[in-house]
């Protein structure tokens, strides 16, 4: 097959791919600026009179998403912070230090990552209900740690392992001591890894649904749960749903676009390195 034709086919396929993956988001974006009536028009119109009404309603209307955005920020933010504070030292210890039970602990952490969430949600629900802690921020933050922590540790271990041992040894010989060696020499080396880990942990926490819907309530209701406000038995508020979804996903989409190189590196580093172990 002549080179030109082949390249053309490949480019067409690539364009199709782009469309398939990017289109839904773009279509939702488009829809969010339509009136409900325009949405139902057939054939679907690309040219219409855009309106900001949906966004206004979704943000400032009676079913405003603002408290939900606040919930999401608080839960995702705090759990991410807690995760980093716990995971980074633990990962360093796992990667570079000797202590009793190191190997077993490593397996254990790997194993907890494989837990199906539904297995955790039932006991948590029962316990929190008895403790009257349903619909609280703490309840959610704690259970979010169950998926963030093992993942963050696993990621950071691979970044710590990339730092040459000799660099740490040089710092020790330079009389830095373990703590200062960690602070002045090693942590700066894994800055990129910390950024990637933060992004992934925050992303997963922001997007979490099951835990949020079961353990949350009226007070603590992250955006992922609030999406269902726009769907009821009678009707679906298409345009409003699109606007709400865009708002709910705006942070993660922005994060994804800005940090896409980091994200791709994180995915592939974590995966390909994991293969080596």
């Amino acid at each position: 097959m002549p080179r030109r034709v082949r390249t053309l086919i490949l480019v067409a396929l690539a364009a199709l791919l782009l469309a398939v993956w990017a289109f839904p988001v773009l279509w939702a974006l488009l829809t969010s600026f339509k009136t409900e009536r325009d949405v139902l028009a057939y054939p679907p119109t690309l040219i219409f009179e855009p309106t900001l009404r949906n966004y206004r309603d979704v943000l400032f209307g009676s079913a405003s998403l603002l408290p939900n955005l606040a919930s999401s920020i608080i839960v995702a933010g705090v759990s991410t912070l807690a995760t980093l504070l716990l995971a980074i030292p633990a990962a360093y210890a796992l990667a570079r230090l000797e202590f009793p039970g190191r190997r077993v602990s490593g397996f254990y952490i790997l194993a907890t990552q494989m837990l199906p969430p539904v297995g955790l949600i039932i006991p948590y629900y029962l316990v929190l209900q008895k403790a009257g802690a349903l619909d609280t921020y703490w309840g959610l933050i704690v259970i979010y740690l169950t998926f963030s922590l093992p993942f963050a540790i696993w990621l950071m271990v691979s970044y710590f392992e990339d730092v040459p041992r000799e660099m740490e040894e040089a710092a020790l010989l330079d009389r830095a001591g373990r703590v200062r060696a960690l602070w002045y020499v090693i942590l700066p080396q894994v800055r990129g890894g910390i950024a990637v880990t933060t992004i992934f942990v925050f992303l997963n926490a922001w997007n979490e649904f099951l835990f949020a819907v079961v353990l949350g309530g009226n007070r603590v209701r992250p955006v992922t749960v609030a999406m269902f406000n726009f769907i009821s038995v009678e009707q679906t508020l298409w345009a409003k749903l699109a606007a709400g979804a865009m708002l709910a996903m705006a942070p993660v989409i922005l994060l994804g676009l800005l940090a896409q190189r980091h994200i791709v590196k994180g995915l592939t580093v974590g995966a390909v390195k994991g293969a080596r172990r």
Partner: protein
């Protein structure tokens, strides 16, 4: 830590030393290591393992929040009931179909696309950005997107296309047969980019000289793929398969948002069955036992996969 320092044959003039560097250093180093590690470990144990014990306990109970007078200890009753529960076997079957098909589709599509994209170095940047979009979205939002904007009869994208092609309008999520396919499509759509990106990275890192040597040895494209490319990217493929299988087993939000497990039980994988039993029907004891079974299956599958990975 006393060690016998008197080695036969060595002219060791000095007496046995108890305080070798190994013992003294270890104590302070170990304390430091544990100080760094224990907070995370303890947090994990308290937040994951303790609840699991409670889960197992709950599965041996009969907790019926809708009929509280019937609650009490049930022993293995829940599990016995499960064996005879057709809805359970249905969910098991659906789980198998769902997991197997999504993983196979993701890997095949991801691999094919990665191979194609390799040939277009200039398109790769744009494609990577496009690939990121499905991955960063919340699965629940993806499920809702597809349910409303894509798969809705009449208004949805797919329906518009099929109507334009003359294939008619269908109830993609309301028809029991189509629903399973739709749900599989949704999951595949969202997660294929992961396989794509990982495999692409692996392919890009392969040394070109191996392929040149194969070309000189007169291997054609298919042979080069089968005997050189595939074995070299095996580690990446294995990791993708393992991770995607684990995710598929515990997939929840997208299906919940798109079909809620229905119509009826047409898309009710074990995960969803356990959820519905516990929180829609408020039968937490039985729901717990279903969750335990899912846990056991996940554990078994992961053990098998890791064993396979290490064996080769």
């Amino acid at each position: 830590m006393v060690r016998d320092q008197h080695q036969p044959g060595s002219h060791n003039v000095f007496p046995a030393v108890i305080n070798t560097r190994s013992s003294r250093k270890s104590v302070s180093d170990r304390a430091f290591a544990l100080l760094l590690f224990l907070p995370a470990l303890v947090t994990l144990i308290v937040t994951t393992s303790a609840p699991l014990v409670y889960l197992a306990w709950t599965s041996a109970m009969r907790i019926d929040l809708s009929m509280p007078w019937r609650s009490g200890f049930a022993g293995v009753d829940n599990y016995v009931k499960m064996g005879a529960d057709p809805r359970f076997w249905n969910s098991l079957w659906l789980t198998l179909v769902y997991t197997a098909s999504t993983v196979v589709l993701q890997v095949t599509l991801g691999l094919s696309l990665a191979l194609l994209v390799l040939r277009i170095p200039r398109g790769q940047a744009a494609l990577r950005i496009a690939a990121i979009l499905p991955l960063v979205l919340a699965p629940v939002v993806v499920g809702l997107f597809w349910r409303t904007l894509v798969l809705s009869p009449d208004v949805g994208l797919v329906d518009v296309v099929t109507r334009a092609l003359g294939l008619g309008s269908h109830n993609w999520l309301g028809d029991p047969q189509l629903a399973l396919i739709s749900v599989i499509a949704i999951h595949t759509w969202q997660w294929t980019p992961f396989a794509f990106l990982v495999i692409l990275a692996s392919l890009s890192s392969l040394p070109p000289d191996v392929f040149e040597a194969a070309r000189i040895d007169r291997a054609n494209a298919w042979q080069r793929f089968r005997h050189i490319t595939l074995p070299l990217i095996r580690p990446a493929l294995v990791i993708v398969v393992i991770m995607r299988t684990m995710i598929a087993l515990s997939a929840f939000a997208a299906i919940f948002a798109a079909t809620g497990g229905g119509p009826g039980t047409a898309t009710e994988i074990l995960n969803l069955y356990a959820y519905r039993t516990s929180f829609s029907e408020l039968n937490l004891g039985y729901g717990a036992s279903l969750a335990v079974v899912l846990l056991a299956i996940t554990l078994a599958v992961s053990l098998v996969m890791f064993r396979v990975r290490r064996a080769r």
